[in-house]
Symmetry: C2
Subunit: 143 residues, 2 copies
C-alpha cells in the first residue's frame, strides 16, 4: 500500500491545519516525508530533501522535524540509542524493532489491546503509549 500522493496545495493545507506556517523548506520536507512510509532519521530526511534540486540546510531539517513533531504532524520514535527516528504515519500503531539491523516495522494498533495499566499520576496528561517489541533475527546457520 503506497502512501497517497499529496499535491503541493494539500501539503500546504496539512501544515496550516497543524498551525505550521508553510515555508518552502517545510513544504519540501513534508512532501518528502508524506510521499513515503517508513521511519527516518534527521540525516535520512536531509539526504531525501537534497537529492534533487532543492537545498535545505541541516539546521532547518532538525528544526523542522522538531516543529512537525511538536505540532503532531509526525511522530518521534525513541528506540535507537544513537538517534531519533521520525514517523509520518500518524495512525496509532506500534513497532517491531530489530535490535541488530535497527529496522522498524509497523504493527497496527487496532487489534492490540492493553489492559491493566494503572491510572496516571494525579494531574498528569497522557502524551501517548509506545509499544516496542524488540527482536533479533535467529542466527542463520552460524557455527
Amino acid at each position: 500500500m503506497e502512501p497517497k500522493t499529496y499535491t503541493h496545495d494539500e501539503i500546504i493545507a496539512m501544515l496550516r491545519e497543524h498551525g505550521i506556517n508553510p515555508t518552502a523548506q517545510r513544504v519540501e520536507i513534508a512532501r518528502e516525508l508524506f510521499s513515503r512510509k517508513g521511519h527516518y532519521s534527521a540525516e535520512d530526511v536531509f539526504a531525501l530533501v537534497n537529492n534533487d534540486q532543492t537545498q535545505v540546510s541541516k539546521a532547518t531539517v532538525y528544526n523542522t522535524l522538531g516543529l512537525f513533531a511538536e505540532k503532531r504532524l509526525i511522530r518521534q520514535l525513541i528506540v535507537d540509542p544513537t538517534k531519533v527516528f521520525y514517523d509520518p504515519n500518524m495512525v496509532p500503531h506500534h513497532h517491531f524493532y530489530d535490535v541488530v539491523t535497527g529496522k522498524l516495522t509497523d504493527i497496527d494498533a487496532n487489534d492490540v489491546r492493553i489492559t491493566g495499566l494503572p491510572a496516571l499520576p494525579p494531574g498528569a496528561q497522557m502524551e501517548g503509549v509506545d509499544v516496542i517489541i524488540r527482536m533479533r533475527q535467529a542466527n542463520p546457520t552460524a557455527g
Copy 2:
C-alpha cells in the same frame, strides 16, 4: 520497599551466575546499582561509584553497563533521546515517562495484558516488550 541489601559475596555470585568475571570495579558498580532502585544514566553510575573512596574510570563504567545489559543482569532503557538509562530491576515491568522532567516510574507488568500482537517475522526471536507511557504534568496554574 527498599531493595534487598546484598553482601559482597552475593554480588559476586550474581555476576558469576550471569557469566561475568567479578572484577573489583564490576562488583562495585553492581553493588551501587543493586543497593537502590531507579533508573540511572552512565554518568549517574559514574557519580555513584566515585562518591566514596573507590575510583572507577568513565570508560569502565560505560563498558561495564554495556556488559551487564548484554548479560541481562540489568536492563537498558531507550526513552530519553539524549542518553541511555539502566534499570537494575529485572522483574518484567513497564514505565511512565514524564516528557518534561525525564523521570521514569515503574509499572508492574503482572496486571498488564497485551493482546492482539501479530506473530514475529519468521526466524525472529523476541528480545522483550517495552511499554512506555509518555505523560506530562498538567501546567500548574500557568496563564
